[in-house]
Symmetry: C2
Subunit: 353 residues, 2 copies
């Protein structure tokens, strides 16, 4: 007798992350029986390909979750907030990639390489996927934490435009086209601002520029993105008092977030030992030989699955601190891939021989 | 009787920094009598404008320094190393913008807003101008240090292409022209690398990318640029044991370096107090109102003189730590302007009523 494989619903199948998700579901070892694609009523009836088959997109209704074991949500916060509990009430485990439930004490925040055991602590039937910026570093930091015990993180981000969705991608491409051929630009204050045209979701030009802002304004000048890095790192690592200072900056890269992390541990960490440990860790790829110009960059990392780590240096002032440069594809591990990995952990519960 | 004004020589007048220097000498209140422009034999005979007058460029020879009171050097390290002592031997005070003498114990490293008093401690007749990355933050950090006492700096840079000279500017412009119009790029690993063409002075593509490397490889994986930020900050602030961790990253910006700094002080610092103090400090401009999308960005800062500071936040874990975002034009304050300011301090010694 063949296995009974669980049924999956992908809510938000037509969006930027949803599109990457269909690719990931098609590439990875299949653990799913039926896959239902779900989107807004506007997109219902569209035909998308997944696992080499055409699938008709269904409208988001309560009934679409009947018989579904796992429902992934790649939709805005307010849609998740309303619909993930509906899916859960219909018996599905909701794996949500929005910010709606991440800090809910009754919702686990899961990165399978770090805290896969947390998927079963889900009294609401909902599991959250972390923010893409946190996800671009936390697999590597989690691996170091298990051996050395992390005490403090100082994080600076170099975030890609696609973190702001398809509109972010489109606006950066428009700006690059507008400024790319003009060799006189960027010599005096404001001329790039004049040349780029629309700013889209960004508060300043992104082409030929960097912008020290992502998300919305919270108390005391912190951005929502910076507080997510802080709060989500604490929750995933199970360290509610971890010291975290993050400054989030947008850069003119389409996809793949980069981060500089200064991490302080409970015990001394030699760079070679950290390099070896990270090289043996699931989901981490070390690329660290500056003599050969080997270090990760977003242009070389985009479209790949691991968290890439390079520039691993022991602090000259503190043998228990490391300075690192990390890159991760914010649409894959930073969103769709991690959601798929969580769903696969849950799928095992429903898979019957 | 009119004043006797000192004679200035500008060595490297035809280079990227030299060109900015001639503009700065033309804009600032004039403190100079004769200004001699000096360059390689190849450029001798060229006519350049400074202070609204045409000046013929002279070849670099020992005799060109006869009668010169102050000689600025905006040339590569090896040229400074050879020629600054020759200028000094001929009686000129050499103000050198190269890396040749910065860490020499007998050469002061001066930022007039921070340590102008050091210009007189020059047993070799040479004064050094700091590296552009250090200069992009040190005026602001120096101001905070005077009141709060700085203990530790964690620095991440977002460095402009012009830090690598005219070749860096040209290569980034070529890369931007090559990728700007192609809307299919930057979706998978390596396709930007294929599209950009020449890498020039950078070890990876800079358009649609960020590159975690600047300078040459030093011990234990640190780059020369990262060690400059550490060693020069210590020397300028007069704090030989200051803890400094820097990670230097190149971004696709033509001119103006940005830095994220996590600074820890001896005493508590409220963000409002820091904002007020920085706002009253010479050479610093505060732009810090995220609710109105007000923070410095390189595109808005390029061509201006101050160190711009925004995103001023008190650490949520430590009331004695601040997180800041700073921008400074690396060709002006980061090079030509600070050199001009040092020379002006020296000029006072030679100015006779």
């Amino acid at each position: 007798m063949s296995k009974r494989l669980p049924t999956l619903a992908v809510v938000g199948a037509t969006g930027a992350v949803g599109t990457v998700m269909l690719g990931i579901l098609s590439e990875r070892e299949n653990v799913w029986g039926e896959i239902r694609l779900v989107a807004s009523a506007r997109s219902a009836g569209k035909v998308l390909r997944v696992r080499g088959e055409d699938v008709v997109v269904q409208a988001l209704t309560p009934e679409v979750f009947d018989g579904v074991d796992v429902a992934m949500f790649d939709v805005p916060d307010e849609i998740s907030k309303e619909w993930a509990p509906i899916a859960a009430a219909r018996g599905a485990v909701a794996v949500d990639n929005s910010g709606a439930f991440r800090m809910d004490a009754d919702v686990p925040l899961v990165v399978p390489e770090v805290n896969a055991d947390q998927v079963r602590n889900r009294p609401r039937g909902i599991i959250s996927n972390p923010n893409c910026t946190t996800l671009s570093m936390i697999v590597a930091i989690g691996a170091l934490h298990r051996t050395y015990g992390v005490k403090e993180l100082v994080v600076s981000s170099y975030q890609a435009a696609s973190g702001a969705g398809q509109e972010g991608i489109d606006v950066l491409r428009d700006q690059m086209a507008a400024v790319g051929a003009d060799r006189s630009l960027a010599e005096k204050a404001g001329d790039v601002r004049e040349a780029v045209g629309e700013l889209g979701p960004f508060p300043a030009p992104l082409a030929y520029n960097v912008v020290p802002w992502a998300g919305s304004l919270k108390d005391d000048g912190w951005s929502s993105e910076e507080l997510k890095v802080r709060n989500e790192s604490r929750k995933i690592l199970g360290l509610p008092d971890l010291r975290v200072n993050a400054t989030c900056v947008r850069v003119p890269v389409i996809t793949t977030h980069s981060l500089v992390v200064h991490a302080t541990f409970d015990s001394e960490v030699a760079a070679d030992d950290a390099r070896k440990l990270l090289g043996e860790s699931d989901g981490v790829q070390v690329l660290d030989d500056p003599a050969k110009a080997e270090f990760p960059t977003p242009a070389d990392v985009v479209g790949t699955d691991p968290t890439w780590v390079g520039r691993i240096r022991q602090s000259l002032d503190d043998p228990a601190s490391l300075d690192l440069f990390l890159c991760g594809d914010n649409l894959r591990k930073g969103a769709a891939l991690n959601t798929a990995q969580i769903a696969e952990v849950v799928a095992k519960e429903f898979t019957k021989d």
